[in-house]
């Protein structure tokens, strides 16, 4: 007979463990709607949607406003000393869905999940542009095909940046 270990719970321990475990699982499943990507809630194959991301960068215009310049994922910008530096979206964004620009990809875990992640990615990238003294924000125009319906579009903007 094997020696009991800390993993061999007594009767009360079994009841306590099961109660805590099932409460956590039930809570995570029932609160799935509170999380855009539904993590920890087993919403399998929740959508069959695609998205195509077109990236742009917002820069200052001569009239004092801003203008969006379309990007293919890479851009050049001057730093404070005037030296030209190179930047790429995929330098920071390695995610197999979000790093793909310009063509439709499967929106794993649904459109809401991917838009949530894309917004975070835009904010993250503008927070990590050392040496770019021109870009004041990033813009993503997203074409969406949700569950086989006709395409619609939405625009996400990163938080403003003041280089």
């Amino acid at each position: 007979m094997a020696k009991p270990t800390f993993l061999d719970l007594g009767k009360r321990g079994r009841m306590g463990f099961a109660a805590i475990y099932l409460t956590i699982q039930a809570s995570l499943v029932l609160t799935a709607g509170l999380r855009p990507d539904g993590v920890f809630s087993f919403q399998m194959f929740n959508e069959s949607s695609r998205i195509a991301i077109d990236l742009g960068r917002r820069v200052r215009a001569p009239d004092g406003g801003t203008v969006v310049v379309v990007l293919d994922g890479a851009w050049e910008a001057r730093d404070e000393s005037g030296t030209v530096r190179h930047f790429r979206w995929s330098d920071r964004v390695h995610d197999p869905i979000l790093r793909i620009l310009g063509r439709p990809v499967h929106a794993s875990y649904g459109v809401a999940a991917q838009l949530f992640r894309l917004q975070k990615a835009l904010d993250d990238v503008v927070d990590h542009l050392p040496g770019d003294s021109e870009t004041v924000g990033l813009v993503a125009d997203v074409r969406i095909w949700q569950n086989g319906r006709d395409r619609y579009e939405t625009r996400l903007e990163s938080r403003a940046r003041y280089p």
Partner: protein, 363 residues
């Protein structure tokens, strides 16, 4: 309800099948760990890449610790496979895995999360009493142990079906067949590559059929959540579930989820071993052949196989069920299929054929 809870708390039985599930889970954990390691860039820190941490950023590991944890996952998985330090390793791999999953929700996948949950639950079960490398086979008495955590793992499977089926039921796009229709239309090339006829995929993606399939998928998941627990429906639920998961496997990319689900299905088998008999006539080649096949494929140790021409009563082989019912011919084959994992998909077709062509032999 109280007696059910009391029984769940104290139930003990053979842990042979439980130990087999542990070994399979170890292999799945190993494959999962190797995949993670293969895509990991050793010198990249979370600071260098876009990520969405669930836990506070301060708790994220540096590159060296992250790499060490991935390697540790593989070592734990190997220990789980061989059965040495299997239970602490299961717990460790679950804790480390859930931690790593919480470091970046971009890397979250339901199947990986499910694998870790089953590892966690099996850690609390005596799943190390059989299938242990270089340890002599344990006796039935030594293998006997509490099954409460294994029952909890069964319940976890049910939670997955309930959550998945319930969310689809509440989604109009799912109920109407939009999701499954579009998915099937787009999965055609993948399915064809796996051997599914293209014409079949086109028919399945038709809106009318897609709507029917969507409802069938929802009903299937909700049925499995309950049907696996009811003695009257369990065998059919297991068969239907196997078909369901194999269909998903050939039409979608679900990493290890199919094999994880099928492994967990083994926990629904009655724990006691060799309650059925295969009695065969060694003088008949067909009986001897079937006995050898069953011996090789009886991974759940369901059968006591004996050469006994007299008991075979003129048949090549006879299957004796738990309740003493005897069956030979097609029905006997159906009963062999019912209890052997590899032949299990044939159980219902054989049973239907047996009903059509040969009445059961009483006994």
């Amino acid at each position: 309800m109280m007696s059910l809870l009391r029984r769940w708390q104290i139930e003990e039985d053979d842990t042979y099948v439980l130990s087999l599930v542990r070994a399979i889970l170890g292999v799945l954990l190993l494959l999962s760990g190797l995949r993670e390691l293969s895509i990991h860039r050793g010198d990249t820190s979370f600071d260098d890449v876009f990520h969405i941490a669930i836990i506070p950023e301060a708790l994220l590991p540096g590159p060296a610790v992250f790499s060490a944890l991935l390697v540790a996952q593989i070592v734990f998985a190997l220990l789980v496979v061989v059965g040495r330090w299997a239970r602490p390793s299961l717990l460790a791999t679950a804790v480390v895995g859930l931690y790593l999953l919480s470091c970046d929700r971009l890397g979250y996948h339901n199947n990986r999360y499910a694998l870790l949950l089953f590892a966690l639950l099996l850690a609390f079960s005596p799943c190390d009493r059989a299938f242990v490398w270089r340890r002599p086979a344990a006796t039935a008495a030594e293998r006997k142990g509490p099954l409460w955590a294994a029952r909890l793992a069964q319940l976890q499977m049910s939670i997955i079906y309930l959550a998945s089926g319930g969310s689809k039921l509440l989604d109009p796009d799912w109920r109407e067949g939009r999701v499954i229709g579009d998915r099937l239309a787009r999965a055609t090339s993948l399915a064809v590559a796996k051997g599914v006829p293209a014409a079949l995929m086109e028919v399945l993606a038709h809106p009318t059929l897609a709507s029917a399939l969507a409802k069938l998928a929802i009903v299937t998941e909700l049925f499995l959540a309950v049907g696996l627990f009811l003695p009257r429906t369990r065998t059919f639920a297991l068969w239907w579930g196997v078909m369901f998961h194999l269909t998903i496997e050939v039409t979608s990319q679900v990493e290890l989820f199919t094999w994880l689900s099928l492994a967990v299905y083994a926990l629904f088998a009655v724990p006691t071993l060799r309650e059925r008999q295969v009695l065969y006539d060694p003088g008949r080649s067909w009986g001897g052949f079937l006995a050898r096949v069953v011996e090789r494929l009886d991974w759940l140790a369901r059968f006591d196989i004996r050469a006994d021409a007299e008991a075979a009563r003129g048949h090549g082989f006879v299957i004796v069920e738990r309740d003493g019912t005897r069956a030979s011919g097609l029905l006997g084959l159906a009963r062999v299929a019912r209890a052997t994992p590899l032949l299990f998909p044939l159980f219902v077709p054989l049973r239907v054929l047996a009903r059509a062509f040969s009445p059961p032999e009483g006994g």
